[in-house]
Symmetry: C2
Subunit: 250 residues, 2 copies
Amino acid sequence: MAGPRFKPIRQSRISEEVAEQLKQSILLGQFKTGEKLPSERKLAEEFEVSRVAIREALRTLGNSGFVSTRQGSAGGAFVTELTFEQLTNTYLDLFLANKISVPELYEVRLLVEPEVARSAAQNVSSKYAGRLRAALDVEELPLATLTDDVDRKSAVHFILAEMCGNRFFEGLVRSMMRLTKQVVEAVIPDTRHMHPSGLHGRVVEAVLAGDGEAAFAAMRRHAIEFGDLLSKMENAFRDKNSPPDKVRQK
Amino acid sequence: MAGPRFKPIRQSRISEEVAEQLKQSILLGQFKTGEKLPSERKLAEEFEVSRVAIREALRTLGNSGFVSTRQGSAGGAFVTELTFEQLTNTYLDLFLANKISVPELYEVRLLVEPEVARSAAQNVSSKYAGRLRAALDVEELPLATLTDDVDRKSAVHFILAEMCGNRFFEGLVRSMMRLTKQVVEAVIPDTRHMHPSGLHGRVVEAVLAGDGEAAFAAMRRHAIEFGDLLSKMENAFRDKNSPPDKVRQK
DNA sequence: AACTATTTGTTCGTATGTATG
DNA sequence: GCATACATACGAACAAATAGT
């Protein structure tokens, strides 16, 4: 009925314990960003384990985004600033594994993005204004790689997310845009003909005017339009990219 | 101006290539959930690489939640269903690394949770109703471990997140509750005296009545109250757990 | 209960690749 | 070109856990 009365002495792998200790050291600031961890050999000596164990631990920390390793004379494991890329990758995995569907994604975007636009409208600065206008201009240009085109069309969303001043929202938007990109690229042969202009225009306009409510409304309208499009894509997407239920070739 | 004209032959590590191939195989359904991957030695033969490389790849896949390995005669690497736990861990890392602050978390919760409550109110079933009532009853009971107490008080949130039918929201709520737990446990010595009752009562009441708007409003009120409390905690929390700027013992 | 087979966990020794000075 | 320092990679061996006989 009660929990376990004693902790197991050593249930986890050595590499996990090493990874945990190194992670704690980094979080406690004992290794600062950009700083180099001791070499694998020295770590192996300090922890009194083999180098393989150290390597596996560094691999784990690398996967979580805490360190990145370089080889060569001045190489080693360097502490890196944790970014939202890990988050995006995690979301992408969940999406690819069918743990998140397109309508679900759409629903979240519909809730989050207008709110982000509203916040952004309250944080306008000349620098941000310039970036928004530039992004809008670039959208209009023709001629771009397909994947570049998608990136350019999501630039406004990224800037707004940055403007809203909430990194949680920012990470969320980045992740959602990444998933959207995944769907779009998998389904639409060429996006360059799509919504040739004016799509983000009204949103940016409202944001630049500092009108939060108008920005909210404009983004919401945009999200609904685009969401409808996304929904229609879903079947095509799942048909193309989800063999798990139809492979069964045996 | 253009991108690289040729792809590098092999820039990434062997273990990463192995991990990528195995991951794709899993995503394509060539290994189904619960199925066992070939043993490390066989994989090493098939990929024509060393066992260490295979091990590092399996470590990576394990960290991402795609496989879990067991030791022993019937052991090996088994494909596991991807869960939102990875997501929660990623968020936790970001939070511990000060990439997400308490006010930011609070802002997201304020947006998301009321919406989740509204959706939940539209998906009431007898089974969910029973679980909600049970969770509410358990909240009232005294005598619990501190950490258990926090878990019990967040149970209602988890159930509502499940009820809303959107796994993206569900994962988000789970992650946010985990971060909240982190803050609470770090700051409040004992939560058992807090809001002894009626906190979630009104929310659950509205949900069970199928009244989405009332559920939205009740949850929003709850979130605001609790958010204020959280904000007050932040300073205390950062003072206790954020030595990075004050360690500098050299 | 003891033995055996299988598989991961762990270590060591060694060789190779890569970047710096 | 050369020496140095480091990560990367391999092979062989043994330890530990687990299931079956």
